[in-house]
Symmetry: C2
Subunit: 220 residues, 2 copies
């Protein structure tokens, strides 16, 4: 599909809090918390907020959304679909943007389904090439390993985009559904107004962190 | 004190969620909820989040903060002081901005004390001239009416500022501590990049509403 990308395109960017990244980085802690969770019922499992921010291009914040998802659960796709289909902003939204395909630890988002059930294209942005071998190893700790791995495969191949900002060039990586590579790259470029991270994702991350920790940790 | 206001001045703007405004508008509901609260202990009183956003001028969001305060309590001043003095952003902060002097219903902020204990100037922005007679009547429902009214008087006189945005001119109202009127007006002007509401306050409001309600309600 070839479309002209408007500068003021409405982008809904989602992210969760920073501590999830620390958790992902520390698989040993992850294992411990998972073990302790075995004795709990599903409804007692910890939840974390996911924040969505609606941007016009990379400059103007139009609105914000919030939902809660289960740490290491598999409810993120369903929760995001419900949130998006329920918002009064929906008619304006042209693209959903995610910072990687996991939130709340290993709660993997089914980006094909997210696109199908909302009718909105999806871009998954990655600041670095994800270490899929490491993710696979971590996922093997889950009983439903296969189900989760399928979601990662369904997200499709990661593509590299050389994002130029002033004198610098950053290699960023993406997947997308419902958009051509050219469209995806244009949207990443026009929304990355302050560095290499698209503004909707940068702000969603700052807010999610403040909501959880009381203060945003930044991301240098 | 005469200072040159930098375009990139770091402003910390605070606001709470939209429903508080509805609550204020409906004094009858307010009385009901207050009566039902009499039977509860102080620690059971409902809390609401207050969100602070740190802006460089009116264009770049640097960070966010969150604290919780008691609905109709008197803990907002103390909670804001603790939050501001504890943040790693403090060194950069040049001004605190508030959207009116109440949060969480009638939790009134002592702006003199906020300035004194943080060492940072305070601007109170009002999009409309507050109806002080109405506020006074509402406050009479509180046992500690006098204590609350003193805080309102301590905030000082409201001054009008004719804010020009494109072809439009808006009358907005402010109080300030630690800044001259000229400085205050310059800061309101440079931070109101998208209309008549300073960007830090507009964003703090959107975020606080999303955190509480799941979706921001906007503010036309």
């Amino acid at each position: 599909m070839i479309r002209k990308i408007k500068k003021e395109i409405r982008i809904l960017g989602f992210d969760d809090a920073a501590f999830e990244l620390d958790v992902k980085a520390d698989m040993r802690n992850k294992k411990l918390s998972r073990m302790s969770m075995k004795n709990r019922r599903a409804k007692d499992k910890p939840k974390v907020p996911v924040i969505g921010v609606i941007y016009r291009g990379g400059n103007f914040l139009d609105g914000a959304l919030r939902t809660d998802i289960t740490v290491d659960g598999l409810d993120s796709t369903e929760q995001l679909i419900k949130l998006i289909n329920g918002t009064r902003h929906k008619r304006q939204l042209r693209v959903i943007m995610l910072d990687g395909i996991t939130v709340g630890g290993f709660n993997i988002i089914d980006i094909q389904k997210l696109n199908e059930k909302t009718g909105i294209p999806v871009i998954v942005y990655n600041r670095k090439m994800p270490d899929l071998e490491r993710v696979r190893k971590a996922l093997k700790n889950f009983k439903d390993y296969k189900k989760r791995w399928v979601l990662i495969e369904r997200a499709g191949d990661l593509k590299e985009f050389k994002l130029k900002r002033g004198k610098k060039t950053y290699s960023v990586y993406y997947q997308s559904v419902g958009l051509s590579d050219k469209e995806t790259e244009e949207i990443i470029k026009l929304s990355s107004t302050h560095g290499q991270i698209p503004e909707p994702l940068r702000i969603a991350h700052i807010i999610a962190t403040a909501v959880v920790k009381g203060e945003s940790a930044g991301r240098a």
